[in-house]
């Protein structure tokens, strides 16, 4: 347990942001002990909630001067422990930085503070016929600042790409309080290093983004959503290969396996999926209305050719919501099956999905664990879910062992240890599976350029040098 923050420091923090926005009361700190990776609880020494760029800068400068580490935090929905507070750290939260500063339909850009919730941005853009494309499953809670930190994905990345494609400019506050402008719409991206691209996905280790400029897209004229039910996961996988091979570019291609279907159907999120099915595949197309019907028909035909038992088509927005419901709520549906759940995250080349999925089921069985799979089949991004009870120390150890084996299997298949959830605290131990010393030291060098004092979200992403030294 870290010592309490010195009174003199607390007094100055309160002067900077207002007394009610500096939290030290243990009861109120509880919320900040964990993020979406609930297996860990690291109580922060305090929480500061600034409202403006100037306040963030002043708070960072003050803490930096006292040698106190800081942890940027958005909504705390991250799944890799990136917002956990290491020993002695103070959380700088963006909960009060919720203003959309400008929304410019003529240039299709918007600028905002980091605490704006993902869906709120799309809602604000909708009257102009625009929306913000990246849609992580937590989008009704997660913030744009958090999306920038994690380079968030979502089910529609296959066609539209990840967060980094949509961030055109950033104002960031570095550890010592310096405010730096990176990029910006109108700026020539080919006239200097892509520091916006480097900052996006830096998991809060480079600084805190206080203003974020994003590119918006026109709302697609039409959407077609299909749900194909298969007897086996292998058939669903082959149907996906056929759809991609036919030159179709769906906006989303999502698969749920039998365990996931059953979990959803047994929960309040029941979406009417047949529980004896081996897999459910959601295929979505969007774009110009005139072309959609033909695309949907071809996809439907390809699913039937590859063994689909039935294909359902959403005829309107409500039916579309219903088809998606099972997929989007799968995470919540597992809540009733076990007290704890780890959502793993890895990406493999798409053609390796069938053998990797089979291997994951084997790994689960060998450790006597329940494993369910929901994944972005179009881009090879897997989310195996491991169910457990953390009060059972033996089971917890088996979850750890199975997680490592799953990561090893994905890397062996030419994949990587995280596709969209980040490394955070959870996956530092796997970084050596994908990178050698040269790459890790190059990443450390980049971190040192932004944060020479090592006080911004320390102990995240890069492997622990001390633990490595004792290996």
């Amino acid at each position: 347990m870290s010592p309490p923050l010195p009174d003199s420091l607390l007094r100055r923090l309160r002067e900077l942001v207002g007394a009610e926005h500096v939290i030290t009361d243990p009861d109120r700190l509880l919320v900040y002990e964990a993020d979406g990776l609930t297996a860990y609880r690291w109580p922060p020494r305090g929480v500061v909630l600034p409202a403006t760029t100037e306040e963030v800068s002043a708070v960072m400068r003050l803490l930096h001067g006292s040698g106190i580490p800081v942890v940027p935090r958005g909504a705390g929905t991250g799944l890799s422990g990136g917002a956990l507070a290491p020993e002695g750290a103070v959380v700088v939260g963006t909960a009060r930085m919720t203003r959309i500063l400008s929304l410019d339909p003529a240039n299709r850009v918007a600028r905002m503070q980091p605490g704006v919730v993902n869906t709120r941005l799309s809602e604000a853009a909708r009257p102009h016929g625009l929306y913000y494309a990246p849609d992580p499953s937590s989008q009704t809670a997660c913030t744009i600042g958090g999306n920038v930190a994690e380079n968030s994905g979502g089910p529609h990345c296959l066609k539209y790409g990840v967060t980094s494609r949509y961030i055109t400019g950033l104002t960031v506050v570095l550890g010592d309080g310096e405010v730096v402008e990176l990029g910006g719409a109108g700026h020539d991206p080919e006239s200097g290093y892509d520091l916006v691209g480097l900052f996006v996905g830096s998991e809060g280790c480079f600084g805190l983004a206080v203003e974020i400029e994003v590119r918006l897209l026109p709302l697609p004229e039409g959407v077609r959503t299909l749900l194909a039910i298969f007897d086996t996961l292998e058939d669903a996988g082959r149907a996906v290969t056929a759809v991609v091979g036919a030159g179709l570019l769906p906006a989303a291609l999502e698969i749920m396996d039998q365990s996931s279907i059953r979990a959803v159907e047994a929960s309040v999120f029941a979406a009417g999926y047949p529980t004896d099915a081996g897999a459910a595949l959601v295929v979505e197309f969007d774009g110009t209305e005139a072309g959609l019907e033909a695309d949907a028909e071809r996809a439907e035909g390809l699913c039937m050719e590859h063994g689909a038992r039935e294909v359902r088509r959403a005829r309107n927005a409500a039916e579309r919501e219903a088809l998606w419901k099972g997929r989007k709520k799968a995470f919540g549906a597992f809540g009733r099956l076990a007290p704890d759940l780890i959502v793993q995250d890895a990406t493999v080349p798409r053609t390796r999905l069938p053998d990797v999925l089979a291997r994951i089921l084997e790994i689960g069985a060998s450790h006597r664990l329940r494993v369910a799979n929901v994944f972005h089949a179009g881009d090879g991004n897997l989310h195996p879910k491991l169910l457990f009870d953390r009060r059972d120390a033996d089971e917890l150890a088996r979850v750890e062992a199975a997680s490592r084996e799953i990561m090893e299997a994905c890397v062996a298949a030419g994949g990587t240890i995280t596709g969209e959830h980040g490394v955070g605290v959870d996956k530092r131990k796997y970084m050596r599976l994908v990178y050698g010393t040269a790459e890790i030291e190059a990443m450390r060098a980049a971190k040192e350029v932004f944060d020479p004092a090592g006080l911004v979200n320390p102990g995240k992403v890069l492997p622990d040098p001390e633990a490595e030294a004792t290996r």
Binding site: G161, G197, L198, V348, R350
Partner: protein, 417 residues
């Protein structure tokens, strides 16, 4: 260079990789002639070339196709590192929509292999066919397709890079989504050979669209096409690209070329919506004629003694077009109307001046934009600077450069301080 000095320099590089150029002008960088050309044939030889150059105290400027080598002269004696012997497709999995190829692979060769499988890499910077994959990565150069499909930065999944001090980094991977560690791939893409030399790259691919057509709207004066261009840029229809060129090839005046892709029915509907309510006549071009037209448009303003790239917010199109026309009279202009990037070229450098270009930069910066010189005589570059102050990313960029190239071997004096 004296024969003795040339022999000494040759001794610094692996056997058979170095030659003193017969036609040094063909390899000139920013008007400066290299001491020689080093052409490593492997990653290991690439490392040795960098180490040899460091020992000999000469800089190294990596070049692929040489189409986009920048107009800044290196700050001291240098050799060109050619990637021509690092060529070929290493791994192509059509079903994964990814390809890995060595840096010196030409985009033309890559395109041939991808076309056979009904796929493509949707990038269209000027001189596309003569570029290499490594050059595309190093310049990060986007063409008009960039807004809809993404720029090279969005397509590159993984890289093998050799840093200035000879470390071999394998960054990213060959999967579509990857957030393992800090995104050094983004840092290297567009770093113009100042952080490392790209040895190979993995990029994501797309299925070729069923239809790929052009809608060509001609105007007597380019100015009259600007409102239509803006209407396209703010329309709910998403074209693959939209380029305003002036003067129109072979016809004078100007032309707006809108590229529509997708299923046949969708392309028809998109064309109808774009033209709805406007009185203009549009010519529809399809097939090989359309491909040729897109290439002509991409290269339209990329030849001449002076080539500049102006950027601004897309809604400032009219202001930027008129500012460019004042600074570069009678220039060939190609405006990527979706991105707000305008390339302008004049054949005769005497038709402009340092003062005119500096004024143009000031006007663009006032609009939140920028001016970069892609090609210009060295006196003009020395006076105006290739990039505006806003283009240089300051202390962070300089510090990153020191960490990747501590000996300042790579492209010394160019791009980022």
């Amino acid at each position: 260079m004296s024969p003795g000095a040339a022999a000494a320099l040759e001794g610094a590089f692996p056997d058979g990789t170095f030659e003193a150029p017969v036609e040094a002008d063909a390899w000139a960088v920013g008007g400066a002639r290299p001491l020689g050309i080093a052409s490593p044939g492997s990653v290991d030889e690439l490392r040795q070339v960098l180490a040899g150059a460091a020992r000999a105290g000469v800089g190294v400027v990596p070049l692929g196709g040489g189409t986009d080598r920048g107009c800044e002269a290196p700050s001291g004696p240098f050799v060109v590192l050619s990637t021509r012997r690092l060529a070929g497709i290493e791994d192509y999995e059509p079903a994964d929509l990814t390809v890995t190829a060595a840096a010196g692979t030409s985009l033309a060769d890559l395109e041939r292999a991808l076309t056979e499988r009904g796929q493509w890499l949707p990038v269209d910077p000027p001189h596309r066919h003569r570029r290499t994959l490594g050059g595309l990565v190093a310049t990060g150069a986007a063409g008009p397709l960039g807004t809809t499909y993404g720029a090279p930065r969005d397509h590159v999944l993984g890289l093998t890079v050799v840093t200035g001090d000879g470390r071999v980094l394998r960054l990213g991977g060959r999967v579509m989504k990857n957030v393992a560690g800090f995104d050094l791939v983004k840092l290297v893409v567009g770093s113009r050979g100042t952080l490392g030399v790209v040895a190979s790259a993995t990029v994501r691919l797309f299925p070729r669209p069923e239809e790929d057509r052009a809608l060509v709207i001609r105007g007597v004066r380019p100015g009259e096409l600007i409102p239509l261009a803006r209407a396209v840029a703010t329309s709910p229809v998403v074209p693959a690209s939209a380029v305003l060129v002036a003067p129109a090839p072979g016809r004078g005046g100007g032309a707006l070329i809108v590229r529509l892709q997708g299923a046949s029915a969708a392309v028809d509907a998109d064309a109808a919506r774009i033209l709805a309510g406007s009185a203009v006549d549009a010519e529809r071009v399809a097939g090989p004629d359309a491909s040729a037209l897109f290439d002509t448009a991409a290269d339209h303003a990329a030849h001449g003694e002076v080539v500049v790239r102006a950027t601004a917010l897309p809604a400032a199109l009219a202001e930027v077009m008129s500012a460019v026309a004042e600074a570069l009279p009678d220039a060939a202009v190609a405006a990527d109307v979706l991105a707000g990037r305008i390339r302008a070229a004049i054949g005769d450098a005497a038709r402009t001046s340092a003062e005119a270009l500096a004024t143009l930069r000031t006007r663009l910066e006032a609009l939140g934009g920028s001016l970069s010189l892609e090609r210009a005589p060295s006196e003009l570059v020395a006076e105006v600077g290739a990039y505006g102050a806003a283009g240089r990313s300051g202390a962070l960029a300089a510090s990153l450069r020191r960490r990747f190239d501590p000996g300042r071997v790579l492209s010394p004096g160019r791009f980022v301080a």
